[in-house]
């Protein structure tokens, strides 16, 4: 049996180049801080955590048979909720500065819960692969409510000003996204 949307080519128990407790702690704290910035809609602080060469990807996932070899995860030519560079994320976010993003006022209430953090070394000494799971909860207006749950795989780079996000692939587990929009970053 194979899954049709695994995060890595070979999901195994082997853990290559296990990171130290200190490094793991530092990156876990970075993920938590990032989540807090997103909960607070502090997008200035959040985008400061993004590397200039960022690639931020959230593919659209269809329901497919196991035998189907269509690459729904890493094929970047397919439709995706996000398939963005940093300038493209900034472009999307600039909507919030216009004063006319009507559906953002009253504001959405966000909570990002980040769990299952694993940190690995990569071929590059200053870059680290970080796995995590997310539970993003939104509540807005009178009783709008939804939950977005899935896995993430990131590359974080150590810089003089702290860790910066270089790559993120977030896999939302929805087939039909059970919400009217995605006014959220994961």
């Amino acid at each position: 049996m194979t899954m049709t949307m695994t995060m890595t080519d070979t999901a195994t128990l082997e853990r290559p180049a296990m990171a130290s407790l200190e490094l793991t702690h530092a990156l876990t704290q970075t993920l938590y801080r990032e989540a807090r910035m997103l909960d607070d809609e502090n997008y200035k602080a959040w985008t400061d955590m993004l590397a200039e060469d960022l690639h931020y990807h959230m593919p659209g996932i269809e329901t497919r048979y196991r035998r189907d070899k269509t690459d729904q995860v890493t094929d970047l030519t397919r439709m995706a909720y996000y398939n963005d560079s940093k300038p493209e994320i900034l472009k999307r976010l600039s909507r919030l500065d216009t004063g006319t993003a009507w559906s953002e006022d009253p504001a959405t209430r966000y909570t990002h819960i980040i769990t299952n953090v694993e940190v690995e070394h990569t071929e590059k000494a200053d870059e680290f692969r970080v796995y995590s799971n997310f539970y993003a909860y939104r509540n807005r207006n009178e009783r709008d409510e939804d939950s977005l749950i899935g896995n993430r795989i990131d590359i974080w780079r150590q810089t003089d000003s702290g860790f910066q996000l270089v790559k993120r692939r977030a896999i939302l587990k929805h087939n039909v996204m059970l919400s009217k929009n995605l006014n959220i970053y994961i």
């Binding site: 269809e62 269509t70 397919r78 439709m79 909720y81 216009t98 993003a101 009507w102 059970l178 009217k180």
Partner: protein
């Protein structure tokens, strides 16, 4: 079709007066009206089911819905496309559980009844349990729809054996459709994947928004327009040289400046690409259509498909009860485009009209509130205003359809609800008036019309 729904020609005329320009709010939430829509509109119309590019090879299939009926769309060995109920004739279970793929057989998980891609029953688990005379394989396939047709890449199907031909159903609207389907040699294709979301609103709000509501765009989407273009506002609307055109409930609202929707996409390379092919487009489709394509525009095909020519989002509003629809979206591109331009279009569409797009995010909330608030027992008896531009109908030498001047208008919305009323009222398609009388007649190819619709 259930017999009790036919032969009584219910009177829905009290729900609207389109000459006066008002609608009754109950059509957006009433459960009985919704049931009637499923029978009288969705079970009788030609419905979009696929783009041919989604099914390039024999055995390719996708699953979708016609109204609320689950169907499989499958490419056959002979190249034709079949559309059949995704429901086993034994106990009714699904026989296909994936959104798309390639297969030789659709097999029910319950008792192993197996069907080929045409829907013919080929065998089942422990076949010996059926004695001679118990089952006729020939009559126990997956029920195929009455008709399947395609128009320049778009595949449609209907449950209605009495439906007119697809060409007649689309009629003069083909003149407009060709601007998105045939503006360059090679036609169109869908980008891989399909992004779906759920909006708790009546399906008609999505359709009417795209069929004619340019009016909302500059207000609702001010933030979207500015975010895509470094703070620049929505392009100005020229009320003299922009139009609504309605053909049997289909509708296209548009300017003639050629660049507005391309600007809103926010991808300069895509703008450059279309500007480069525009002279050829003019040779292909005539001067007028080459000036319409790319302008601020939006369109819907009756009853539930919409798209933005120039922005290239293509979408279907699938009804899921009176107060919810599923929005299925695709990206439509020209096959002839180089890969980097297809990539630019895809990213642009997802950044504007994906669920996280700067335009899309402001739409759903409006439609949800329109739906839930209209349901109030007192509120539902108040009329809604659909009278904008009611006196601006014109005759136009070039433009087919019922044409109104000025793209800020409710004309196409009125045209859509007129067709809705025609279908809800009449059992017999032959008794439904053509709105308007067709100009294209038996013309098979609108490209072959030099002069007839020349500017």
């Amino acid at each position: 079709m259930r017999i009790e729904r036919i032969g009584r020609e219910p009177d829905f005329s009290r729900y609207m007066d389109l000459k006066e320009g008002w609608l009754d709010r109950r059509i957006f939430s009433d459960a009985d009206i919704y049931e009637e829509e499923l029978y009288r509109i969705f079970a009788r119309s030609w419905l979009f089911v696929a783009h041919e590019s989604q099914l390039p090879n024999a055995g390719d299939f996708l699953t979708t819905h016609m109204g609320e009926d689950a169907v499989i769309v499958a490419r056959q060995a002979d190249g034709s496309i079949r559309v059949m109920l995704n429901s086993c004739p034994h106990r009714g279970n699904k026989v296909c559980f994936a959104d798309a793929g390639n297969t030789r057989r659709f097999v029910c998980n319950y008792h192993g009844w197996a069907f080929d891609t045409a829907g013919d029953l080929k065998g089942m688990h422990e076949e010996y349990c059926y004695d001679a005379g118990d089952i006729d394989f020939k009559n126990h396939g997956l029920k195929n729809v009455a008709k399947v047709g395609s128009y320049k890449g778009l595949v449609f199907a209907t449950f209605n054996g009495d439906a007119p031909s697809l060409e007649a159903w689309l009629g003069d609207f083909r003149w407009y459709l060709d601007m998105i389907l045939d503006n360059e040699e090679g036609g169109t294709e869908f980008i891989g994947g399909c992004i779906k979301s759920v909006i708790s609103a009546n399906w008609k709000f999505g359709v009417e928004n795209f069929i004619g509501d340019a009016y909302h765009a500059g207000w609702t989407h001010d933030s979207g327009a500015r975010s895509m273009n470094n703070g620049q506002p929505f392009p100005p609307i020229d009320m003299e040289n922009s139009y609504h055109a309605s053909v049997n409930g289909h509708g296209w609202e548009f300017g003639t400046e050629g660049v507005g929707d391309l600007f809103l996409l926010g991808r300069p390379k895509v703008m450059d690409y279309y500007n480069k092919i525009r002279p050829k487009m003019a040779e292909r489709l005539g001067e007028m259509r080459s000036k319409i394509f790319g302008s601020v525009a939006s369109a819907s095909i009756f009853p539930n498909v919409s798209f933005l020519p120039g922005i290239s989002t293509f979408r279907q509003w699938q009804p899921k009860g009176p107060m919810q629809f599923e929005l299925k979206t695709w990206v439509i591109v020209n096959k002839a485009m180089p890969d980097d331009i297809k990539d630019e279009v895809t990213k642009g569409v997802m950044q504007t009209f994906g669920p996280g797009g700067t335009f899309e995010m402001d739409d759903g909330e409006n439609w949800e509130n329109c739906t839930t608030v209209n349901r109030g027992v007192v509120t539902r008896h108040e009329r809604l205003h659909y009278r904008c531009g009611i006196g601006r109908q014109i005759e136009h030498d070039t433009l087919p359809g019922i044409v109104y001047r000025g793209q800020y208008n409710d004309a196409n919305q009125r045209g859509f609800y007129q067709r809705w009323l025609d279908m809800m009222t009449h059992d017999d398609f032959g008794k439904m008036p053509a709105r308007p009388e067709p100009r294209l007649g038996n013309v098979a190819e609108t490209r072959d019309l030099p002069g007839l619709f020349a500017l």
